[in-house]
């Protein structure tokens, strides 16, 4: 992220924090906004939230690391989420995930060396009718077999 973009996002977040700081239980909505704006939750953002909400930074770190939706490191350009919910699992979504690891040469949870993809396993996307399912960004791919993977990845 460029410095200018960083600054702009900081300002946007500041507006959001100011608007919500007096609301009860504002921390999690603010972290959601930060994750959305930056793609992760940088340390300086955690410190700023701590200052305004008068919550120790350690506590904010604790909350941010508790929930799987929040990340502390930048992500790849596209996030690939392979569903490992039960319905997908019994239909071999593990095979799909393994094929992606092989194809992208990255472990689950990691980001490719070129910063293009972050590969994740997720628990149930709620479209079990399409099992096994994965999402790349907002695009949903259903009824997958491992051999579909190379062609799909090429599209990005």
């Amino acid at each position: 992220m460029s410095d200018a973009a960083m600054k702009e996002n900081m300002e946007k977040l500041e507006d959001f924090i100011q608007k919500h700081k007096n609301q009860k239980g504002a921390l999690i909505p603010i972290l959601h906004e930060a994750q959305e704006l930056f793609g992760y939750i940088p340390e300086e953002v955690q410190k700023r939230i701590a200052e305004v909400l008068h919550i120790p930074a350690a506590e904010i770190f604790g909350v941010a690391t508790f929930y799987s939706r929040f990340t502390l490191t930048p992500r790849g350009k596209h996030t690939i989420s392979v569903c490992l919910g039960t319905a997908c699992y019994v239909k071999n979504s593990k095979g799909v995930l393994e094929r992606l690891e092989e194809e992208l040469n990255v472990k689950t949870g990691g980001t490719t060396a070129d910063g293009k993809f972050t590969l994740e396993a997720t628990r149930c996307l709620g479209c079990c009718g399409l099992a096994p399912v994965m999402m790349i960004g907002e695009d949903v791919y259903g009824k997958l077999v491992p051999d579909d993977i190379p062609d799909i990845v090429k599209k990005y």
Partner: protein, 597 residues
């Protein structure tokens, strides 16, 4: 409201949206305009019809033609033939719905025949983004009755008489929960809705939120009146963007119509609802953890008592119900508690929504009266296992539930019967497994989930589940030892007795139920080092079938271990002692001559 001669209902639930139903809706609008039919035909984006396996689904009324697996390019033909000329496009109809050239009513189709849609009553019928459509289907009528004609005590009594029990898993009587909170004296109380549907394979709450969000708002307002609360929160999974968006729209519309806010329907009753997003923690489905999360903390449970009814959100009396529980409330007031209690069994009243998934033909959402047998749901509604495979087990209740084998399929579905079988109704996920699924691997899968999602606060759950997972991993890797099953059972017993919250107390269920019903499969792994279903990689060996092998040598060329040898044009062989079981040879063989067993 405008009158139209035809209604094109397009499913915008998650399953159908994922297979492009928004594009289909746009194409319909475009084609309808092209033919100048905008004043005669209306396109409605609705919630889930239930039969997700056949998505995207389009139903055209008044004929109720059920078009399945529609593609955007099919739309032109449907508009030209069906809407312009009145000729139904037979090739796209759901085959089950056609009988001797006659279109069956939806209620006659096997999938729908046994269903009774109470919680799902409006899903697929109304446009969830339009409050007027909800009102046209008796929406907010129950709230009006409650606010103008009933006292809070009468409201609670009605819910109690209906026999409604919590649909989130534990099955606690809803009316009693409300009564506890109403008796708790305080200046501020809260109404919470648990929309953090975390069970993998369960998507009924998602469908209600997406297909009928106003029913939740109406029910929460009724609950607020009953216990004397003025503020509600809906805690919804952030992974459900469509549900979040529609809830937001619904709250806005309700405020505009004076159905939420300071003076609801001019009665002076004050109630408002705020939406909070979960952030991906399964344990937040537990009530005290959910409360901690709404307060902005790590979502960790705390010991009870004090129960939330006395000391809940921000230390004030709070009730927390699940989405599906709320969805039943307005109907109970409109049709009467006796009507509701007339469905179901002695201790489990009403209906329950199940999400059918896994190895089953009709994947989707079904709502059936309590007491229906598992067999009816799986075979008559669900159509059984596809591809002629043999049914092995059905998993109910997600990571807190168990696997139920064939011999118990005639059991009625109610809270007590499933508990007696070592499982639970839970939130309503129902995953069918066939002969190709290894039950030890399934137990390992759920334990892996639990270890991942355990919050770490209490030792039995944090450490105990980890030890159970290690044993299960060893067994699936062929390193199982005599006595492992005893160790698993004793750990399970201790975790069940000592864990702090529902997550830990039920975590051993998938393991216990698979040991109970599939002990021979565990023993095959431990003693014979074999995986009968052919799933556990380390226990499998690859073989070349001599009759099928043409001796092309492609397998040998691709083998990373160089453990395949042979002469061209004669059958090759695999040296099992060097094989790392990567499966490349099987993938590459053009003659399907390599098997794994």
């Amino acid at each position: 409201m405008e009158m139209y001669r035809s209604h094109v209902m397009i499913c915008r639930g998650t399953g159908c949206t994922s297979s492009n139903s928004e594009q289909i809706a746009k194409n319909f609008e475009e084609e309808i305009k092209k033919h100048g039919l905008e004043k005669e035909v209306v396109v409605e984006r609705t919630g889930c019809f239930g039969l997700c396996a056949l998505g995207p689904v389009v139903i055209i009324y008044p004929e109720a033609s059920f078009y399945s697996m529609v593609k955007p390019e099919d739309v032109e033909e449907i508009v030209k033939e069906h809407l312009v000329k009145g000729r139904i496009v037979k090739r796209l109809l759901y085959a089950e719905s056609v009988e001797e050239n006659r279109l069956k009513a939806l209620e006659e189709v096997d999938f729908f025949k046994k269903q009774v849609r109470v919680a799902l009553r409006n899903c697929g019928i109304i446009n969830p983004e339009n409050i007027d459509e909800y009102i046209a289907f008796d929406g907010y009528k129950a709230l009006e009755k409650v606010l103008t004609k009933m006292t809070p005590a009468e409201v609670i009594d009605t819910v109690k008489r209906s026999g409604l029990r919590g649909r989130g898993g534990a099955g606690f009587p809803t009316g009693m929960k409300w009564e506890f909170a109403s008796k708790s004296v305080n200046d501020q109380k809260y109404v919470l809705c648990n929309a953090d549907e975390g069970d993998p394979g369960a998507f009924m709450d998602r469908s209600v939120l997406e297909g009928d969000p106003h029913s939740i708002l109406e029910a929460m307002t009724i609950a607020g009146y009953a216990i004397g609360a003025s503020q509600g929160y809906i805690y919804c999974r952030a992974e459900y963007p469509i549900a979040v968006k529609r809830l937001g729209i619904a709250i806005g519309q309700a405020r505009l119509y004076g159905l939420l806010g300071d003076n609801i329907m001019g009665t002076g009753f004050k109630f408002d609802i705020e939406l909070r997003l979960g952030a991906g923690a399964f344990v937040c489905g537990e009530e005290t953890a959910l409360i901690a999360s709404v307060e902005g903390q790590r979502g960790m449970p705390r010991p009870r008592p004090p129960f939330p009814a006395n000391k809940g959100l921000f230390a004030k009396p709070t009730i927390l119900n699940n989405v599906e529980t709320y969805a039943n409330i307005p109907v109970i007031f409109n049709k009467g508690p006796e009507w509701f209690a007339s469905m179901g069994t002695e201790k489990s009243k009403g209906t329950k929504v199940f999400a059918l998934g896994g190895k089953i033909s009709n994947t989707g959402l079904v709502e059936i009266p309590m007491g229906t047998s598992l067999r009816e749901v799986i075979y008559e509604i669900g159509g059984g296992c596809p591809n002629g495979k043999k049914f092995k087990a059905v998993q109910t209740g997600g990571p807190s539930g168990g696997c139920i084998p064939e011999e118990h399929l005639d059991s009625p579905i109610d809270y007590e019967s499933l508990a007696a079988l070592g499982s639970i109704i839970g939130s309503g996920g129902m995953i069918v497994m066939d002969e190709d699924n290894c039950m030890v691997d399934i137990a390992r899968f759920f334990m892996d989930f639990i270890v991942d999602e355990s919050c770490g606060k209490c030792t039995p759950c944090r450490e105990g589940t980890k030890r159970m997972l290690e044993i299960l991993e060893r067994i699936t890797e062929g390193k199982g030892e005599e006595g492992d099953l005893d160790k698993l059972e004793s750990l399970a017993k201790n975790i069940k007795n000592a864990a702090l919250c529902g997550l830990g107390q039920t975590a051993p269920n998938p393991v216990l139920s698979t040991i109970r019903y599939f002990r021979d499969e565990y023993e095959a792994h431990i003693k014979d080092k074999k995986c009968p279903a052919g799933v556990c990689k380390e226990l499998l060996n690859y073989f070349i079938i001599a009759d099928k092998c043409k001796g092309c040598g492609i397998c040998a060329k691709n083998c990373p271990q160089q453990c395949i040898s042979g002469q061209p044009k004669t059958p090759y062989t695999i040296d099992s002692s060097k094989c790392i079981k990567c499966g490349v040879c099987m993938q590459k063989c053009p003659f399907k001559a390599i098997i794994r067993k």
